[in-house]
Structures are given as C-alpha cells and as structure tokens.
C-alpha cells in the first residue's frame, strides 16, 4: 500500500482549524438595537475575544424602520445561517421583529419556517448590501 501523503496530516489539521475559524466570530451575546444606538462606539464582543463594530448609519437605518418598542426587541447582529450543500440561507430569528425588518428590506412578505426565515442568494445580496455590519454569517455543521 502506498505511504501516507506528507501533507495529509497537515490538511487534516487545516480542516479542523477551518471549522473553528468560520464560527469563531459569532457574538458571545447579542445586543438590542436601542442599547446600541446609545453607545458611543456601538459594538459586540465575539467568542474569539475580538470586537465587532456596527456602523451608526446602519443602526439609524434600522431604527427608522422600527418603533421604540421594536427597537428594544431587535437583537443585533442578525444571524444568517448557511445550510451546507443546499444553497438555502436561513435567517435565525427568535422574534417577529427580524421578520419585519427583512420583509421591509426585501419589500415582500416572508414565511417563517421551522428553523427561521428561508431566503435565497439573490435576496441575501440585497440584505448584505444594506446591512453589512448588522448581520453575521453562521455556518452550522447541522441545521
């Protein structure tokens, strides 16, 4: 039998770190929009210890879409789950406010599935163009 390839072990290590890297940026705790608006430098702490900065312009845009009560309910960043191998994008939303925001941005009614709101890549591009810092990708091994 042929010898083990010299870089087989290295690649295995690479793959391990790859999975660690792609989800390391997730926030340790989401913050409500109302709190972020009052901060001088709106940010959240990530799991890897880094900070994720929000742009004030985007926060103001979101605030314009929602009333004061809804601003307290909207947790940021909004998490966008990418389902492996399917090409579907799931927006994880515990409340209805996220649904309202996404619906207003896309200008279309949305149906909520079991996992969250299911959208597709062209719609994702529209959302990411407007909400660059207030949304984050999540790569769940199984969703």
């Amino acid at each position: 039998m042929a010898d083990e390839l010299p870089y087989d072990r290295i690649l295995r290590e690479c793959l391990k770190s790859e999975l660690r890297v792609i989800n390391a940026h997730l926030p340790s705790k989401q913050k409500p929009l109302s709190d972020l608006l009052s901060e001088e430098y709106p940010h959240v702490l990530c799991r890897d210890g880094s900070t994720h900065l929000f742009k004030r312009k985007e926060l103001k845009y979101l605030a314009d879409l929602l009333d004061a009560e809804e601003q307290k309910e909207l947790s940021l960043p909004i998490l966008i789950g990418v389902v492996a191998g399917v090409g579907e994008i799931v927006i994880l939303c515990p409340g209805v406010v996220e649904e309202k925001v996404i619906s207003k941005i896309l200008d279309m009614p949305l149906t909520r599935g079991q996992k969250g709101i299911v959208i597709y890549k062209p719609q994702l591009a529209i959302i990411r163009k407007l909400l660059r810092t207030t949304t984050q990708y999540l790569f769940p091994p199984k969703l």
Binding site: C14, V21, K129, Y137
Partner: protein, 211 residues
C-alpha cells in the same frame, strides 16, 4: 490519474469503519467549505461592484468640489480665501473597528461627524460658494474613508478565497478520492479473503471425503 491509497496498519474491518467515518466527515467539511467559498465570492463581487461605484462617485465629487472651490476663489480672491481657511483646519476623527465576514476579519471605518459644528471660517465675510465647496469636500472625505474600507476588504477577501479554494481543491481532488479508493481497496481485499476461505473449505471438504 491513479488515486493514491491511504496507509492503513492492517486491512481490517475496524480500519474500514474508521475510513468510512473519515470520509463522512471530509464530505461534510467539503460541503461547509464550499458554502463558505460561495459566500466569500458573493461578498467579494458585491464589494467589487461597490468599489467601482464609490470610485466613480469620488471622482464626480472631486470634480464638483474643485469647481466650487475655484468659483469661491474667483469670488473672494486667493489671499482672502486662504486667510479664512487657515482657521478652519481641524483633525479628523475616524471610528475604526473590525467586522467579520465568514471568518475573515475586515476593517470597518466610519468618519465621525460633529453635528451642528461650525466649519471654522467666518460666515459673515464669506459667501455661499465657500459653504458649497466645504460641503462637497466633506462629502469627498466620507467617500475616501468608505473607499479605503472597501479596497482593504477586497484584498483580504481575495486572499481568503484563494486560501479556502486550495483547501477545497485538496479535499475534492485528493483527500476524498483517496479515501474512496482505500475503502474500495479494503472491500476488494475482504472479498479476496472470502474467496480464499471458500476455496480452502472446498479443498478440506474434498480431502475429508477422500478419507
């Protein structure tokens, strides 16, 4: 291209199970990385488009700004304009941080504006031409900061796409095929053993019948 086999200590069922588990894991990781690459490419293309738009906008703003400034200079005269503008110099405040796109840390800059702040020159001695020039140069500054963020993002995303694609190719064309080839080899080895066992039993049966 013949697939290289992975070294297994002994061709046993345990090794086969281990290899099958590795294959499942590798396939799952391949799917995740494939999605990651497609997301990174989507972001890269979007940022590339935005960079082109921002560059075009910046050129237009610069040309408008220079036009307004030359009109103001013509109206007030260079010496008077310079005298007014000496006092208007101030430091810029830029809020900088990081944002993360699919595991890539990208800088985020934002020009901090003081709302309602005066520009520093006398409003009595100057005309609205200078106000117009100041407003347009402020807009230029904002666009320059945005362009800096976009260009750095493009560089970082490009590098990450290259790196991830290399890993994806290694998985797609090397690791998974070699795992599949080794599993196939082990199956063939087991079948061969079965055949050997069967012929041995037949031989024993014949010998026993002869006695």
């Amino acid at each position: 291209m013949p697939q290289q086999l992975i070294k297994v200590a002994r061709p046993t069922k345990i090794e086969l199970i281990k290899l099958r588990r590795r294959l499942v894991l590798a396939t799952r990781i391949q799917k995740i990385i494939k999605d990651r690459v497609s997301i990174l490419i989507l972001e890269f293309l979007q940022i590339a488009r935005q960079t082109v738009e921002t560059k075009r906008a910046l050129l237009e703003e610069f040309s408008e700004g220079y036009k307004a400034l030359s009109i103001a200079a013509g109206y007030h005269g260079y010496i008077a304009l310079e005298k007014e503008l000496i006092a208007s110099e101030k430091d810029l405040a830029i809020a900088g941080g990081l944002r993360n796109v699919g595991g890539v840390r990208i800088p985020a800059f934002e020009l901090k504006e003081e709302e309602g702040a005066l520009r520093g020159y006398s409003l009595v001695d100057t005309s609205s031409w200078l106000d117009q020039a100041a407003r347009l140069s402020g807009k230029c500054l904002e666009t320059i900061v945005e362009l800096a963020e976009l260009q750095r993002s493009l560089e970082l995303l490009g590098k990450e796409i290259n790196r991830t694609k290399r890993i994806l190719n290694a998985l797609e064309y090397l690791i998974i095929p070699s795992l599949q080839a080794t599993i196939k080899y082990l199956y063939m080895k087991f079948e061969e053993r079965d055949r050997e066992e069967k012929s041995r039993l037949k031989r024993v049966k014949v010998l026993l019948e002869r006695r």
